[in-house]
Subunit: 185 residues, 2 copies
DNA sequence: AGGGCCATGTAAGTCGTTACATGATTGT
DNA sequence: ACAATCATGTAACGACTTACATGGCCCT
């Protein structure tokens, strides 16, 4: 249901094509929402039928023609209502790594350490990409009011990654003590 | 697809009914997975058809009869294969609060602060429930090897909450500075 | 020559949610 | 009296994923 509001939110900042929205999703919302392009195209069509947005066809020579969606007043109103009045749904996540970690009693500590190291490395890479992105976006200045929302969530994303990494360190250390206790395991 | 492995994981620790699995889901996996009882019953039936688990009917007088599921060798093998060999799927989350936060440029700072305070409070309550649960579970002792998996994930859960809360504090402070700058907003 | 970007979608299938259905026991 | 716990499921619907389909431009 809230894919609709995610799209209205992005369109409230700037008109976009379905393609561009898919990219913006990946860039700014990936850490707390995700959607495939197929779903986005379908949702946009529905939203146009509901008159929350409208589209204009833009003909292009060097690239395929595109359909640029713009938010309508009705869409902005619906967005603001949802934002301030609707009770928030509980967050839902599916994290296979944590599911695996919950079963680490089934594998040797050495293997567990390997998997944690790999995960730590991966999150480190994501973190540095995020830091670069933020650097590029704000250039060390404080964000202007129109950017405050995504500034807050990108800070959250980086803290999330740092938290993950320090938890990995803690868990790795715990397993290392176990391995030292029983060196033949 | 991995609801299957989540259930096999729980059953690898202890045979359970669908009802009990729903509860154990809420207790131990809620922070990185979630499932309704309806989905769990359906998945268990499928898994029995695949011979990964088997069920026994237990007749009861004071309560309704129940169907206790036990993991099969084939199920344990499938679980271990998934755990160590399958490439992990990227985590997926849907967090409406963060989606709203990303749009905080659309609302007055005062309203943003209210929403952040409410979220902070809520996460604080969840955190203290988790701390109680961990206290009850391990009583200050280090976990025995069979519990190591869920010990790690419950520690992760608490760190997640603490991280959320300290991010809220940071964001609230940022908005408070904004309000002080423009006292008539 | 091959891959990535631009750009849009349909169709089929799986996964997840909500509503419905039943009914005894235990605690407030 | 009313709500919660125990216990299992079906049916309908909505959300999400994967496979398929097309095709030119640009860079290496």
């Amino acid at each position: 249901m809230s894919l609709k509001y995610a799209l209205l939110g992005l369109l409230s900042k700037e008109p976009s094509t379905g393609y561009h929205l898919t990219q913006r999703f990946r860039e700014t919302l990936i850490h707390f929402w995700n959607a495939h392009h197929t779903q986005i195209y379908r949702e946009l069509a529905k939203m146009e039928a509901e008159e929350l947005v409208h589209s204009e066809l833009v003909l292009q020579d060097d690239h395929p023609d595109k359909k640029v969606y713009t938010i309508e007043e009705k869409g902005l109103k619906a967005l603001l209502y949802w934002l301030t009045e609707e009770p928030p749904d509980i967050p839902k996540m599916k994290d296979e790594m944590l599911l695996r970690v919950s079963l680490f009693n089934l594998i040797p500590p050495k293997r567990a350490i390997e998997m944690l190291e790999a995960s730590k490395l991966h999150h480190g890479i994501v973190l540095s990409r995020m830091e670069e992105w933020v650097q590029f976006r704000y250039e060390g200045n404080s964000p202007d009011p129109s950017q405050i929302g995504e500034y807050l969530t990108s800070e959250y994303g980086m803290r999330y990654m740092k938290n993950w990494i320090s938890w990995c360190d803690w868990a790795i250390e715990l397993f290392q003590k176990m391995v030292q206790g029983e060196p033949n395991e």
